[in-house]
Amino acid sequence: MRTAELELDLDVFAGPFDLLLAVVLREEIDLRELDLAELVLVYIERLEQTGELDLEAATEFLVLIASLLELKSRLLLPQAPDEPELAPEEAADELLARMLEYRRYRDAASYLGGLFEEGRDYHYRAAPLPAELRRVALDAARPTYEPDSLAVAIGDLLRVPPPPDTSHIRPTVSLERRLRALRDVLAHRSSFDFDEHFGSEDRLTQAVTLFALLELHKKGEATWKQRENFGAIEVVAR
């Protein structure tokens, strides 16, 4: 759809877009009375009807409508004191000038597009520089590094850190080892008294052994009986 052929039926004007421009240029219509939003709506409706988008025509329409908007806003807004008032014929001239300027760059774009088409068949080399160009040439090399830094590095590498101080770590009880202790007893007896076997261990060991017993219960290897609160615990193999 060519912009020029867009049929308009507006409040102040009916006819093709081309014609609207002409009458604006000839000041037969006051730009201030023209509803530009309506113009845009008509254009979009028309686009939807035809279902095709001619990008070039659309761009031209946008340039024109943007110019009209700018001119109209300049007519509507109070002028800055140092800015001469825009006479209507100047506004029309400016619209035409704007269209001509846009056409210049539209045509320059098609020229550049041609250059680009030619240019994109050329490939340039992107290989890295050979290694010898990336390092200092032997004959250009000057002493840069301190030889002692090498001896210092060797000294550092000979240094072995002292064995870690573990005195602050409390002795730990391994759950695994307590499991083994329980299984050892159960391997020889079908049941036994917990205190009898583990009562002499420290509290932490006893607690972990009890925890190990829960683990055996979960695995179905053992269970226990306690007839009264704080009474003797009898561990039974299953």
Partner: protein
């Protein structure tokens, strides 16, 4: 036939250099005068003219560089698994033309000429390395210019090699015709 040693040196330098090299730089590296370098380049451009070998000599982006002969483009893309550079859209080409001719130019000025803001065209051109930010206008708008890559990809030896923009002006006849067309449309209506 063997080439002279300066011609060979220049060819080797251009082969190694990752970017186009200016005559002055070649002269300094080869310890020759600029006139001698020009002569060597002249000979080289004969040997490496389009259609002669697999490598062509090009004068782009302010210097000289070697490029693979376009004939090899499809094979090169197969070997290096490189997709074809996408063409420019109308919006991108127009934006690029405006930046190329009017640089440095601010984003609002680009929009004023095109009639639309064209954020995405500016962004794509920036991403593709064809234009770049070159500062801020005193109103805080980003200012753009083209890059050396632009000159390289468009085969321009420099920005001064862009044809004069007036070449693309509508001819006085076109301009008169445009005005005429508008006015005629107006008269038809008047005659209705």
């Amino acid at each position: 036939m063997s080439a002279g040693s300066l011609e060979r040196t220049v060819e080797a330098l251009l082969f190694l250099a990752p970017e186009p090299v200016a005559v002055a730089e070649l002269a300094e590296a080869a310890e020759a005068s600029e006139a001698e370098i020009e002569r060597a380049l002249d000979l080289l451009s004969g040997t490496l003219a389009e259609g002669k070998r697999g490598i062509v000599l090009r004068n782009v982006a302010g210097g000289w560089t070697l490029a693979a002969e376009p004939l090899a483009d499809p094979a090169a893309r197969r070997l290096l698994a490189k997709p074809k550079t996408p063409p420019l859209t109308q919006a991108q080409a127009e934006t690029l033309a405006i930046v190329a001719y009017l640089q440095p130019i601010s984003r609002p000025e680009i929009a004023r000429i095109r009639g639309v803001s064209g954020e995405s065209a500016v962004q794509t051109l920036t991403e593709r390395g064809l234009i770049e930010e070159s500062g801020r206008s005193r109103f805080g708008a980003t200012i753009y210019r083209t890059t050396p890559l632009f000159e390289r990809l468009f085969g321009l030896s420099g920005l001064d090699r862009l044809p004069d923009a007036s070449r693309f002006d509508p001819t006085p006849e076109d301009e008169a015709e445009l005005r005429e067309r508008l006015l005629k449309a107006g008269e038809q209506r008047a005659g209705e």
